[in-house]
Symmetry: C2
Subunit: 239 residues, 2 copies
């Protein structure tokens, strides 16, 4: 009998087995064999159903793959849909420095469109945050975000964060689902002046309605310089 690595005496057995296997296989090449179920039964001194419960979770997660008669193996990583990101994370991912200049940040009464999008009643308090956003110092986009004040108490008073999405995440409101619309247009004179482009330049208009669980956490409209920005989206999933 091998020595069992004690991770946490209070932990449930199937969780102990699961995390033990996860540690073994993370970083391993796809196709590498995982321990067999009966090996783990011996190693942990648990019933086989307990091991299967642990392995089931990793299979559902996409980390392992079972092949009847052969064994359990590290699965090829699945292609997945885009993570829902905000401007800061998106630009950082592209290797650019994201900066923002707040043009407006105040409490407003929701108009009919914003109220419906945020699932509020017209006249309810919303936070309106308008920013000019730069990438590597160059103007990239103007974003108008509307937030449900009830979900973000003290948001305006707490000093505005750089990243709205980091701020939402720290409150447990990271968007889990979003509905975006995108179209093409020409810049208005005000937009072209802020974005430092010629009037009537091509721009990408992007709207988002972002939901965290049951709550609508963000409604925004952004206008991007088309000469500097292309939107990328991954859809669907393999496996």
């Amino acid at each position: 009998m091998e020595e069992v690595l004690v991770t946490d005496g209070r932990a449930l057995k199937h969780v102990q087995v699961r995390e033990y296997v996860r540690n073994l296989v993370t970083g391993a090449a796809p196709g590498s064999p995982a321990p067999s179920e009966r090996e783990l039964v011996q190693h942990f001194g648990v019933a086989r159903m307990t091991v299967r419960q642990a392995m089931d979770a990793l299979v559902v997660e996409g980390l392992l793959e079972r092949i009847p008669g052969r064994g359990t193996f590290v699965a090829r990583p699945r292609r997945t849909a885009s993570r829902i990101t905000g401007y800061t994370e998106e630009m950082t991912r592209r290797g650019m420095l994201a900066e923002s200049q707040t043009l407006l940040a105040r409490r407003e009464q929701a108009g009919p469109g914003v109220a419906r999008a945020l699932a509020l009643t017209e006249g309810d308090a919303v936070i309106h945050w308008r920013r000019l956003r730069r990438a590597d110092g160059v103007p990239m986009c103007i974003e108008d975000a509307y937030l449900n004040e009830v979900l973000l108490p003290g948001f305006l008073q707490s000093g505005m964060p750089t990243s709205l999405y980091d701020s939402l995440e720290s409150r447990g409101l990271r968007p889990t689902w979003a509905e975006d619309s995108v179209n093409a247009d020409k810049a208005t004179s005000e937009e072209s002046s802020l974005l430092e482009v010629d009037p009537m330049s091509a721009v990408l208009r992007h709207s988002r309605r972002a939901v965290s669980g049951e709550k609508v956490v963000e409604v925004s409209r952004s206008v991007y310089r088309a000469d500097r920005y292309t939107l990328w989206v991954q859809l669907g999933h393999d496996g």
Copy 2:
């Protein structure tokens, strides 16, 4: 003991239980109670682990939700990411009549860009299909699709279908994952003439690389009239 509905004597027990429960709850209102595990044990005369295996599958599927101490209930349908659709399905969904006029359909040798995108070697045979696509009779977009000829034998000879995605689906090549890029631009003179808009009108340029399992099945570039088209995308998932 109630009478057991016999569905298929050859079926595995957990599958019988699963499908029995699925039939019971499909169409039921979210929050409706499903049979308790012990009820199903009595009903089918099986062990509780067998029932749990059946219910687990429905929970992972998102059909049921377990609440410890209370029971198992029909889950609220999850918000999910957009299905990957082509032009025909997309326009039909919007309640418009989708029509297409083939401008070009021929075998070509893949250039460097198309070859890389389709995971082929430069010079390999590809199908190039260029269409002017209308919605309710009005020009909407020009699409250039490149397809791997090896995956679609006889495609050009078989009479071109209306919907590329229907055609892929019938060959078991429905895209499961896609990578899209979108930006804004102004129409070229050739584009504006085909799309029946003024030169330099705003257009949306959309590129897609669509994958089915392990195979790259479609690479396309489309240009949409911005005055008639807004792209919609749903990202992520609840639950």
